[in-house]
């Protein structure tokens, strides 16, 4: 097997005394789509920002590392990171309106990346920007290139963001809630676009979302996070068909569906704990129907299970031994 494109090992991130991410490990192969799902406070966005070297002020990688194509990105100085960002790894965010610069045209923002990383002159960059906007299926790209972000619809702004992110054909695209702010029918179009481009370029995608539907639609593999740790990981089809961690099971059961019987939703009691008071042991234990004393003593390790699934639950540990 070839080396993974991105390898994250035992990554931990703190804000002051608060540990928001703990011992996170996963691999992402070339051209693979990994969906990272979790509710608020699960640490999924912090994972993305740590890899990009974009942790907010006060955030620090205190243990572990992220390695992209053999290069330890979590140890690089800002200068080197700047060279990587946009060129080999790029990121798109939930709200394209706040991540696009309102006083520059869309074309100028695409061209900026091209001039910075690919050394193009103004004219060549402009021409390439039009091509990129066409690639992301913005109609009348040659006119739209001179529009400002506010002149575009939400879906088109997200397309423009994707154009900027893809300008240098990165090996890794991190998409943080890329369709959360969009309507369902617009979301469907954006996911189709991302899927097409991902296949065309053989690009790996780290898809971060709270929406299990989006993950089921797009991801090859899934990483379910809860309260700063991995709860379960595995191939999307296997994980959605036979979820192994009580949290994954509860989460899937709690979603209202478009088919099947209509009854009370099996909801998860309580709330996601704040990083200020993560419980000892398994962090899901206070909300888990199967929890017993042992769950509160030590964090359960990820137990490998059939079909490439692994779940961090003591139930599986007991069953295995």
């Amino acid at each position: 097997m070839t080396a993974p494109l991105l390898s994250v090992r035992d990554l931990s991130v703190t804000f002051g005394p608060v540990r928001v991410l703990e011992g996170l490990s996963f691999d992402l192969a070339q051209g693979e789509v990994l969906g990272v799902v979790g509710e608020s406070g699960s640490g999924k966005s912090m994972t993305a920002l740590a890899i990009m070297g974009l942790l907010p002020r006060g955030g620090r990688v205190v243990a572990g590392r992220a390695v992209l194509e053999g290069q330890e990105v979590t140890a690089l100085p800002e200068r080197d990171l700047q060279r990587l960002r946009g060129a080999r790894m790029a990121m798109i965010f939930q709200e394209p309106m706040t991540s696009l610069n309102p006083v520059l045209t869309v074309g100028e923002q695409v061209a900026e990346v091209l001039r910075q990383h690919r050394g193009m002159n103004r004219r060549a960059a402009h021409a390439e920007a039009v091509k990129l906007l066409r690639l992301v299926e913005i109609p009348a790209a040659e006119r739209r290139v001179d529009d400002y972000p506010h002149q575009l619809s939400g879906g088109q702004r997200q397309r423009a963001m994707i154009a900027i992110a893809l300008a240098c054909r990165p090996r890794l695209l991190i998409a943080d809630e890329p369709t959360t702010a969009l309507d369902a029918t617009v979301q469907a179009g954006i996911l189709d676009l991302l899927r097409g481009l991902q296949r065309e370029f053989g690009m790996a995608v780290l898809l971060i979302t709270h929406d299990l539907g989006v993950v089921a639609d797009f991801a090859d593999r899934v990483l379910v996070m809860y309260a700063g740790r991995v709860a379960e990981t595995g191939p999307a089809a296997a994980l959605f068909a036979h979820p192994q961690h009580p949290y994954t099971r509860a989460l899937l059961a709690a979603i209202p569906r478009l088919t099947g019987p209509i009854a009370g939703l099996p909801s998860i009691p309580g709330v996601v704990p704040s990083p200020m008071d993560f419980p000892a042991g398994c962090r899901f234990a206070p909300r888990c129907p199967h929890a017993h004393l042992e769950c509160t003593l030590a964090p359960p390790p990820l137990v490998p299970l059939p079909d490439g699934v692994a779940a961090a639950c003591i139930l599986h540990l007991e069953r295995a031994s």
């Binding site: 619809s153 939400g154 469907a188 539907g213 993950v215 979603i255 569906r257 939703l265 009691p269 909300r287």
Partner: protein
């Protein structure tokens, strides 16, 4: 039959400054104790509709009756009295609760406004309301920031129900909540609807949540209701092309993939809607008649209405001709 609907709107119109025709001739009826789901995407006018029904904003045109009384003709005093029978909750439970008031003050305020009960009776009602929404009477002394998002939404619900309204309007009540919390709040709303025999207008962009709570569903597009039917009919046999696209865009994780209808283009601006049918610019089936003639809601089946000149489910051939994306596995 003394079947006066709880709320009835006919030909409701609302245009905002700038010529934005947010609600363009909508009819809605809600019986006492009934739940109606109102779905649509951003800008379709569903939230404006929710506010019009309570006269939180003034309609420009149309008939609006609450329990047979002409709501539009009421003076300020009578309207305030009527509001006792109406409650509303919003998407953001942070923005709709005054952070400087305790839960007790927040829940008692509607009672004070409507002159219900003395101090002791109100305190008792506050405790009762907290229990009703799954919180504890001890929570009364706390402030909104001490609660999680889901708990705040429970407080908002308790406040909306304080004066024992007959109608509860819910505008995207679970959209800001995590999945595990969304289920709790949906269950609570379903439970309250039954126990209190509430009339509920459930406004949401989340089709699955609407299916869960509402036995009858109306779909809005560009300021108009394009389809309305019992939930079984709307989800298993949608007649309007827009409803079909909307349903096809939802992915149920773990369920077999559906064929997806990807709409071309964008929602037109409500300030400058297309002639004829508002959906025709994105419809796979649009013909000349659709540009010339506005379709009105007509009966497609028992209690099943759709506003389309060429209603009916898309055929496989139509979808293939349009080159829509095949189902993904």
């Amino acid at each position: 039959m003394t079947d006066v609907p709880l709320i009835e709107a006919r030909g409701l119109h609302k245009t905002f400054p700038g010529g934005v025709h947010a609600v363009d001739g909508v009819d809605l009826r809600l019986r006492a104790g009934e739940t109606l789901g109102l779905v649509g995407e951003s800008g379709c006018g569903k939230s404006t509709m929710a506010r019009l029904l309570l006269r939180l904003i003034e309609p420009d045109e149309g008939v609006l009756h609450f329990r047979g009384e002409d709501l539009r003709a009421l003076g300020a005093t009578r309207l305030r009295q009527m509001r006792r029978d109406m409650g509303i909750i919003f998407q953001d439970p942070f923005g709709s609760l005054n952070p400087r008031m305790t839960v007790s003050q927040l829940l008692a305020e509607p009672l004070v406004v409507h002159g219900i009960g003395n101090r002791a009776a109100r305190a008792q009602r506050v405790a009762e309301l907290l229990t009703l929404v799954g919180l504890l009477p001890e929570h009364a002394a706390r402030y909104p920031h001490e609660f999680s998002g889901g708990q705040r939404q429970r407080i908002a619900i308790a406040r909306a129900l304080a004066s024992r309204p007959a109608l509860l309007v819910c505008d995207e009540p679970t959209s800001a909540l995590d999945v595990s919390i969304q289920a709790q709040v949906l269950n609570l709303l379903g439970d309250l609807q039954h126990r209190l025999a509430l009339g509920v207008l459930f406004v949401s962009h989340n089709l699955a949540a609407v299916r869960h709570l509402a036995p009858r569903v109306a779909v809005m597009y560009l300021g108009r209701v394009v389809e309305e039917a019992p939930r079984e009919a709307i989800f298993s046999n949608p007649q309007h092309p827009y409803t079909q696209a909307l349903i096809s865009a939802v992915v149920d994780p773990g369920a077999p993939p559906r064929r997806r209808i990807v709409l071309r283009g964008e929602v037109p601006s409500p300030a400058n809607p297309p002639s004829g049918c508002g959906f025709r610019t994105r419809c796979l089936r649009a013909q000349r008649r659709c540009a010339e003639e506005k379709p009105y809601l007509t009966e497609q089946g028992p209690r099943h209405l759709a506003a389309c000149h060429f209603p009916g489910q898309y055929t496989m051939a139509e979808l293939e001709r349009a080159g829509t994306a095949p189902a993904h596995s």
